[in-house]
């Protein structure tokens, strides 16, 4: 049975973070701090009719911790390029897992990127907020766009 997209995203995030990053997050609403630095990654999921644009906006400290966990390193050993590469891979794995839960869809994954989110978060219709030990650590946003049929 086809899973509702928000539930599919929550399950995908949990599965990937717990299996590969050894981190368990909560999805309760949390107030983001006004001064936080973020690491943004993005993946497009598409077919001939639609594009689902998915953004991962994780607090820089959390992204570094997750990267260290993923690579089996101490946080002090993690370089910026490691964080970028691992955040791309996170987008790739969550995007793929999310897609696998949307049964019946013939969508494909694009190549993930590490780039700053420059849109307005308030206008993105769908989002899931992540917290770790009761603190806000990020948000995953996605928007479905109908492709221009030429």
């Amino acid at each position: 049975m086809k899973m509702e997209p928000r539930l599919a995203m929550v399950k995908a995030i949990s599965e990937v973070l717990e299996t590969m990053f050894f981190v368990s997050v909560d999805f309760a609403d949390c107030q983001p701090p006004s001064h936080a630095c973020y690491c943004d990654s993005r993946i497009l999921i598409y077919d001939h009719r639609q594009i689902i644009d998915v953004w991962f906006r994780l607090a820089a400290e959390f992204a570094k911790m997750a990267t260290a966990n993923f690579l089996g390193l101490d946080e002090e050993e993690v370089q910026d390029e490691d964080v970028a590469d691992v955040m791309r891979e996170l987008a790739n794995m969550v995007g793929g897992d999310f897609l696998g839960r949307l049964e019946g869809e013939q969508l494909q994954l694009g190549i993930p990127s590490f780039e700053p989110f420059e849109g307005n978060m308030d206008t993105v219709p769908t989002k899931v907020e992540l917290s770790f030990m009761s603190a806000f650590v990020g948000v995953v946003l996605w928007e479905t766009k109908v492709r221009d049929m030429e």
């Binding site: 990937v16 590969m20 590469d85 794995m93 897992d97 897609l99 694009g110 190549i111």
Partner: protein, 140 residues
């Protein structure tokens, strides 16, 4: 006999993880080679003996399907076993990989035991530690 394995993934981190898993799994690992896409993998194969390939599907330049096609058409590499380690979940695309000769697939995210178990299946040796945890998912 130690096995030379070629890891093909555009993510350096994923290559590192797979290399670490292979190193600590007790698998009889010889040389572990790395490529960031299918084209690089073919170049490495020109100058190195490889027993098995672990490859991603979604990569720039030449993806996993391109690599499988190139291997199938090459007289020396057409029987080289390829296990896909991928986020791909589309059944049609998986069937396409089967038809192109892939010997197995492991879906990301994965547990280290799945990599170990699948490799033992492919090379036809028993897993001495008996830690095989494959539930059959990803078998062709």
């Amino acid at each position: 006999m130690p096995y030379n394995i070629l890891i093909v993934d555009d993510s350096k981190s994923m290559r590192q993880i797979l290399r670490k898993i292979l190193a600590v799994s007790g698998f009889n690992l010889g040389e572990c080679l790395e490529a960031s896409n299918g084209e690089e993998a073919l170049s490495i194969l020109e100058g190195n003996w490889v027993d098995l390939i672990l490859s991603d599907i979604h990569m720039p330049v030449m993806d996993g399907f391109g690599l499988l096609r190139a291997l199938r058409e090459h007289p020396d590499w057409s029987d080289l076993p390829v296990v896909l380690v991928t986020t791909e979940s589309n059944e049609d695309r998986i069937q396409e990989a089967i038809s192109l000769g892939a010997k197995g697939y492991i879906r990301k995210p994965f547990k280290p035991e799945e990599i170990r178990a699948r490799l033992y299946e492919i090379i036809g040796e028993s897993d001495e530690d008996g830690t095989t945890t494959s539930d059959g998912e990803g078998d062709f």
